[in-house]
Amino acid sequence: MATFNLKINGKESQVDVDPSTPMLWVLRDHLNLVGTKYGCGIAQCGACTVHLDGTATRSCMLTVSMVGNSEITTIEGLSDTGDHPVQKAWVEVDVPQCGYCQAGQIMTASAFLEKNPNPSDEEIEMAMNGNICRCGTYTRIKKAVKLAAESKQA
């Protein structure tokens, strides 16, 4: 066990866990931030995506000891009231079916749009390719990412 000081969603948090613990479980079990989801545990599905200094990162394979001073943003910290352009676009397009993968999709999309604010359809598909949606909402996800990009341009 070791103590880690973490910067999550703009706040300082302290946890006492084994250094090999993935951030996914630190968030879910120790910090009560359960919006980040467990899907595969091997960085294949993207359900656990968070931002690590703004970069979309799979928290299931990011151990707490690797985080250091980096800042983590989870779905709970993406906006105060759910009004991030990507969240708003998701509501507008009414993307989710079961909803389990969508926090991960949104975290991937929001980091992507920061780097590429005006993407083509192909760029969106490639950027989102690491996030599986078993319900098959891909066409709506693409639509929502485009809508978010447009609203950020406006």
């Binding site: 899907g39 545990g41 998701w90 989710p96 390719n129």
Partner: protein, 755 residues
């Protein structure tokens, strides 16, 4: 009123009659006891809560300020029942959707009828009773207003939660009337709205949970936490094996670990119901403080395994009581395929026979024959199997992803020795279901573990535990044969289908009824690999096989594939063969005509675009699809899918489209990539690194969904859009490559698609 109405009606008003003398329920204390609550629609600002609520029946509570709480009775796994079922209530109650709060019901069989999400039956079975529940409550409000004003009910109208007496210019809100309405005797035979007057049903409403989903709220059982809760994980053997002994000493000594043990979930002589499917009745269990610690300890378990012996158990399912045999042996996919080929050559059970098919084939000038196969499939819901349970001496409280709570309560009760009414199941939002979550073994396991450790626990399967557990879509095969005379007329049709451990043939569906000489046969082989419902059971294979065969048959006969189907359907309309045809040929033809128009089927395709058509009827709805693809080297790119659907009245059109889009993407994914295979009882795929799921770049660039305008009672959308797309993919691939794809997944069909 039919029986369903009466049943729902009676249950709905049980609460009301007991309240008739009891008066009001206090608003805030009552609200606090009921969670989770979700504010309607996409409103950011929460509705102002009323001070008091009046409960008109078990689905409807009206606040003194006009806010209305509607109860969503069915568990939600992504098909929108939490939004669309209350829309039906709201329509007949005649209220403003913006004034609605939706509350997810817990499992409560006395208050709610059929809290089962599956079989695409939620809307179809909920529709009549929920209309009556809404209309009856409205009638009680009208009666209260009539009494208040001393006028006849016939002089009153309602709109958006307000009762009007136009003659005198008076009006009064439901909020004020609800207290009075509550005491009024429940009327019978209330009028229902005309469909043309609908203002909510048929008008797209946003999913009531979307805002909570996109902000990461704890909606899922996986997210549930309570003070003192421990984490439990299980380990299970491969197929054909069981636990001989468990050495948990190393695991138990690891940090954070409380206990390690084996647990028996069902006794061998327990008479199972049809949803008591379980692969292993004995599991190894690790219980500890946190998920990661338990995951590590689980790896340190020393399990000695032994081969199972032949066994059997009694299952009392919907089809009656039967003995299910579980053969010993370590099964492999290679052997499955060999056995299926052998079985395909043997005589099988005749499921339906019209005319004289033997004679037709004997006299045929030409016979077209084609065999199709598909592998087992894992459900792979994004939320792995899990369940929270807190079993005490007096009661059991569960939070569970479960499609069919009514089917598992008795089993939990029997296992932990509490009466069924002491088992309280909270219906958490499910991170997918697709049939897998109809089988509640995880609830029994969680309850048994909680009882054993005498603490609240959340049992979590790893992805590997989930994917290798079983309850798969079976592996199937079907051989289709068509007899043609010298003029290329179709004179006989034969389908023989089989599978492990069930056959996929729906003998009374199209093209039965459209062909004079018709034979359908089926066979099945036993297995110790467990199977269960998987989005459109049986149809999810047979539709694709049949529609690929009809495509080839049309080509052999020199006909356009849509013309050919329409000709056959015309025969089924004008002079049907047999009496048990399980489809309406007019509606079947209707979706084909609509998809022809909307897809521009008759227009020539742009260069490099290849089209395939498919149509199927299952789970009471009709779906036709045209899929267009291009080739990028050896790999197809799905360009566009146009779908035409007849599901009667469409409750929530935009979400119904979402369901069709998802079913199409899911179908393309499973047709192209889906496969679970085995070696010596061990599943070859354990996680998404090797179990290939469809991804963004492989989905169609666009999906265009059209609904047949209809006033027919609504039917489901969860399953029907899924099965036909397998055929549309195969038929478009044929156009692109000149080769008939018959072996799923198509990516591995030999010679390989890619390579």
């Amino acid at each position: 009123m039919d029986q369903i109405n009466n049943s729902i009606g009676r249950r709905a008003f049980l609460r009301n009659s007991s309240l008739a003398s009891g008066g009001l329920i206090l608003g805030f204390s009552w609200l606090n006891s009921c969670k989770p609550k979700v504010v309607a629609a996409e409103e950011v600002v929460a509705l102002e809560m009323p001070k008091t609520w009046s409960e008109l029946n078990s689905y409807i509570k009206i606040g003194d300020n006009g806010v209305v709480t509607l109860i969503a009775p069915n568990p939600e796994f992504g098909s929108n029942v939490k939004t669309s079922l209350p829309m039906i209530l709201a329509e007949e109650l005649d209220i403003d959707w913006e004034m609605v709060i939706i509350e997810q019901a817990n499992f409560h069989p006395e208050k709610y009828d059929r809290q089962f999400t599956g079989g695409s039956q939620g809307i179809r079975r909920g529709w009549p009773g929920l209309r009556v529940a809404g209309a009856t409550a409205r009638q009680m409000l009208l009666t209260a207003a009539a009494q208040q004003w001393g006028v006849a009910i016939s002089e009153l109208t309602t709109e958006n939660g307000i009762v009007y007496h136009k003659a005198s210019g008076q009006e009064i809100g439901y909020g004020e009337l609800a207290v009075l309405a509550q005491g009024i005797e429940v009327p019978e035979d209330v009028p229902l709205k005309e469909i043309k007057d609908f203002k909510i049903v048929g008008h797209s409403k946003k999913n009531v949970d979307t805002k909570n989903i996109v902000t990461g709220k704890p909606l899922f059982a996986m997210d549930h936490k309570e003070d003192g809760m421990l984490i439990a994980m299980i380990a299970h053997p491969p197929f054909g094996k069981k636990i001989k002994s468990l050495d948990g000493s190393t695991a138990k000594s690891m940090p954070g670990i409380k206990d390690v043990f084996t647990i028996t979930t069902l006794q061998d002589d327990y008479e199972r119901n049809g949803f008591d499917t379980t692969t292993h009745t004995e599991l190894a269990v690790v219980v500890g403080n946190s998920t990661w610690e338990v995951m590590q300890a689980k790896k340190a378990l020393q399990m000695e395994l032994e081969n199972i012996s032949d066994s059997e158990f009694v299952m009392n399912g919907w089809g009656g009581k039967s003995t299910v045999k579980v053969p010993a042996g370590l099964e492999s996919s290679e052997n499955h395929l060999k056995k299926m080929e052998e079985m395909g050559r043997k005589k099988a059970t005749v499921l339906r026979k019209d005319g004289n098919p033997e004679k037709a084939f004997a006299e045929a000038d030409k016979i077209l024959e084609r065999t199709y196969t598909a592998p087992f499939l894992a459900h792979n819901c994004m939320e792995p199997v899990n369940c929270f349970a807190n079993v005490t001496a007096d009661e059991a409280v569960l939070y569970a992803p479960i499609q069919a709570p009514e089917m598992i309560t008795g089993t939990i009760a029997a296992r932990i020795g509490l009466p069924a009414e002491k088992i309280h199941i909270n219906l958490s939002r499910m991170g997918g279901g697709f049939g897998q979550r109809a089988y509640g073994h995880h609830l029994v396991e969680a309850a048994a573990i909680s009882q054993k450790v005498n603490a609240p626990i959340k049992m979590v399967y790893t992805r590997e535990d989930d994917m290798t557990y079983g309850i798969y879509r079976p592996t199937y095969t079907a051989t289709y044969r068509a007899a043609l005379d010298k003029d290329n007329n179709l004179i006989g049709f034969h389908v023989k289908g089989g599978g492990i451990p069930e056959h996929p043939v729906a003998a009374n569906r199209f093209p039965a009824g459209a062909i004079d000489n018709y034979l359908a046969e089926g066979w099945a082989l036993e297995s110790n690999i467990t199977i269960g419902a998987f989005r459109a059971p049986r149809s999810n294979f047979i539709a694709g096989a049949e529609q690929a065969f009809l495509d080839e048959l049309a080509e052999t006969m020199g006909k356009d594939p849509i013309d050919f189907r329409l000709e056959m359907l015309e025969r089924a309309i004008t002079k049907p063969v047999g009496e048990n045809n399980d489809y309406e040929a007019e509606r079947y033809a209707g979706v084909l005509k609509l998809v022809r128009e909307k897809s521009g089927w008759d227009n020539s395709s742009p260069s490099g675009i290849f089209k395939g058509v498919s149509a199927y009827f299952c789970h009471n709805s009709y779906v036709a699809q045209v899929l267009e693809l291009s080739m990028d080297g050896d790999m197809p790119k799905m360009e566009k899918v146009t779908a035409a659907i007849d599901c009667g009245v469409v409750i929530n059109p935009d979400f119904a489209s979402n369901m069709a889009e998802g079913g199409i993407v899911d179908g393309i994914g499973n047709a192209m990539f889906g496969e679970m295979s085995f070696k010596e009882g061990v599943p070859d795929h354990k996680n998404f690194d090797t179990y290939r799921m469809i991804r963004h770049t492989e989905a169609p660039k666009s999906i265009d969904v059209h609904f047949v305008e209809s006033e027919v009672d609504p039917t489901g959308m969860g399953e029907p859009p899924f099965p036909p797309v397998f055929g549309a993919v195969a038929n478009a691939l044929y156009k692109a490559t000149g080769r008939r794809f018959t072996k799923q997944p198509f990516i591995t069909d030999k010679p390989p698609l890619v390579g």
